[in-house]
């Protein structure tokens, strides 16, 4: 068994590092400097992760589609992202003549900034949260919603019908699924009794018989997590919900008219959004940085967090490689007529769970209710052909 101090240090290594570095500065500057340091760390870390992910994704898709994927640049094509980065930096930045220059310029920035803001409240390890806001979750969603505006700006400013359509699609889709996203996370809030993500993690970071109290291991938690996963996939415009940039219909969606560095920013923004929202999911349902088994607690918390993060990223990639794209009206119907009711029901189930108190009954009741609701509603939707032929009713 490894000595406790070693575990401590390995767990808190980044925190200690930060304090050591800040130590050089005069006391009055230290808080600000700490913040700056953390921000720098985040801003530095996640683009690297992004680069890594791109190559992983391309290789993974390659495997799924029975090709090799990038393999030229560097060993196994690992340096591919680097090459891409250089390319996008050196490319000419084309702005359409009729475009609204200011907005066109602002859009990517707003997007990236808003996404980065989201990371501020996500705890990436024990004591590893930039600002422990009491209303963290609210803050996160506030930031998340701001991205929609950026997307709209991009689509509208670049005076292109493909862009505009893509943007409108994206915004509509994001709004629709944002409701589901919020409602599915509200369950967790109800249980943890707090909006602060650190508290939520703390609430899950307990073990009985060596098993953690992750919310995913409860009926409502599982249902909530599934809803959350669906919603996130739609929020991040990932396949099968990637209509906004459906190549076959609208060239590349709202960033059709972007090139060079701005395009790279959009690309970055999307992946960062993916990361942060996966991190949030992990925090809400998968116990954040807590270990899956009590005997694995010696492994540093941040490792757990990032492994969960990457796991969900992998799932994203997997989905993208597997599922076909939906149609707009199918998407909307799915959001409003299936996901939303299920989340609402899930709220009730959670309340029931809370008031049934300890005991096996609550497991039985909640599970039964959820399963029955799932089956019945699924059948109903299918029969009513809400996922059937296209309807132009809401399309102006």
């Amino acid at each position: 068994m490894i000595a406790r101090p070693l575990i401590e240090t390995s767990d808190q290594v980044f925190v200690l590092l930060k304090e050591w570095l800040v130590g050089f500065l005069p006391a009055s500057w230290q808080p600000a400097a700490g913040v700056v340091l953390c921000v720098a760390a985040i801003v530095g870390l996640f683009p690297v992760l992004f680069a890594l992910t791109t190559v992983l994704e391309r290789k993974g898709l390659g495997r799924i589609q029975n090709r090799i994927g990038p393999n030229r640049v560097g060993p196994l094509g690992l340096l591919q992202p680097l090459a891409d980065g250089i390319k996008s930096l050196t490319k000419e930045d084309i702005v359409p003549a009729s475009a609204d220059r200011v907005v066109h310029f602002l859009a990517p920035l707003v997007l990236v900034v808003a996404v980065f803001m989201g990371f501020a409240v996500v705890p990436m390890g024990r004591n590893m949260v930039l600002v422990d806001v009491d209303a963290g979750l609210l803050f996160y969603f506030a930031m998340g919603t701001s991205t929609e505006l950026a997307i709209f700006m991009a689509g509208w400013s670049s005076r292109n019908k493909y862009s505009l359509l893509g943007a409108m699609r994206a915004v509509a889709q994001m709004i629709s699924y944002e409701v589901a996203l919020l409602l599915s996370s509200v369950v967790v809030v109800m249980m943890a009794g707090s909006l602060s993500l650190t508290k939520i993690v703390a609430a899950q970071n307990q073990y009985t018989w060596g098993l953690p109290h992750w919310y995913i291991f409860t009926p409502w938690g599982l249902a909530g997590f599934l809803m959350y996963a669906i919603a996130t996939t739609a929020e991040t415009n990932r396949s099968p919900f990637d209509l906004p940039e459906g190549e076959s219909e609208l060239v590349a969606g709202y960033h059709t008219e972007y090139s060079g560095f701005k395009f790279a920013l959009f690309f970055l923004g999307e992946y960062l959004a993916m990361f942060s929202i996966s991190g949030l999911g992990a925090t809400l349902f998968l116990g954040g940085w807590s270990a899956p088994f009590s005997f694995l607690t010696w492994i540093p918390s941040w490792i757990w967090f990032f492994s969960k993060l990457m796991l969900s990223i992998f799932v994203f990639i997997w989905l993208r490689g597997t599922l076909p794209r939906l149609r707009q009206d199918q998407l909307m119907n799915f959001a409003w007529k299936f996901v939303l009711p299920m989340t609402l029901l899930n709220l009730l189930v959670a309340a029931l769970w809370r008031f049934l108190g300890e005991g096996w009954e609550r497991w039985v009741f909640c599970t039964v209710i959820l399963v029955v609701a799932y089956v019945v509603m699924g059948r109903m939707e299918m029969r009513r052909e809400h996922f059937g032929p296209r309807s132009y009713r809401y399309a102006e």
Partner: protein, 179 residues
């Protein structure tokens, strides 16, 4: 008065002015979001975290998007040929000015009697010292909402539902029209 306040106030007012003055409707909407953001920051500056975040969530996340949608749906995105101001803009402006005058006068007149801070300002403590922020946790707000203010909460909930349905009904095309 702290510098931050002046900056935020300037930002907000600028956003508001832009929202009301710009020609292009979409620009107005975007400027409006700036104003909203400024307001949210003002709230934060007032230690009203929850309200600030709610402000961002609701206004930037929902209302602004809604406005933008409405603009696009009403083909208002391109700048109109005729002036953007109505024929009676001068009268309107004067009316607004009158209102502002009255309000400003009111504030100024009542300034001495306003509570300067939690602690009454004396010669020793200048008025600009920010009083200790009341520690408001989300939990307190929640308790207040479900406790003292539960009835308004319910009413607001009903109102929102009704508004949602009503908006959908109003904005929805009749089938016959659609086909």
């Amino acid at each position: 008065m702290s510098l931050i306040f002046y900056l935020l106030a300037a930002l907000t007012v600028a956003g508001a002015l832009a929202a009301m003055l710009l020609k292009n409707t979409v620009h107005c909407a975007l400027a409006l979001t700036v104003a909203f953001a400024g307001l949210a920051l003002l709230f934060l500056n007032l230690d009203a975290q929850f309200a600030g975040f709610a402000q961002i969530l609701v206004y930037i996340g929902a209302v602004a998007i809604l406005v933008v949608f409405a603009i696009l749906l009403t083909r208002g995105s391109e700048t109109p040929q005729g002036g953007v101001f109505s024929r009676s803009w001068l009268a309107g402006l004067t009316a607004a000015a009158a209102v502002f005058a009255v309000f400003a006068w009111a504030v100024a007149a009542s300034a001495p009697r306003l509570p300067r801070a939690a602690a009454p300002a004396t010669a020793a403590t200048p008025a600009s010292t920010v009083s200790p922020a009341p520690a408001v946790t989300v939990e307190q707000i929640g308790r207040a909402l479900t406790g003292r203010y539960v009835l308004p909460l319910e009413i607001v909930a009903v109102l929102l539902t009704v508004a949602l349905i009503g908006a959908v009904i109003v904005a929805m095309h009749e089938k016959v029209e659609a086909k």
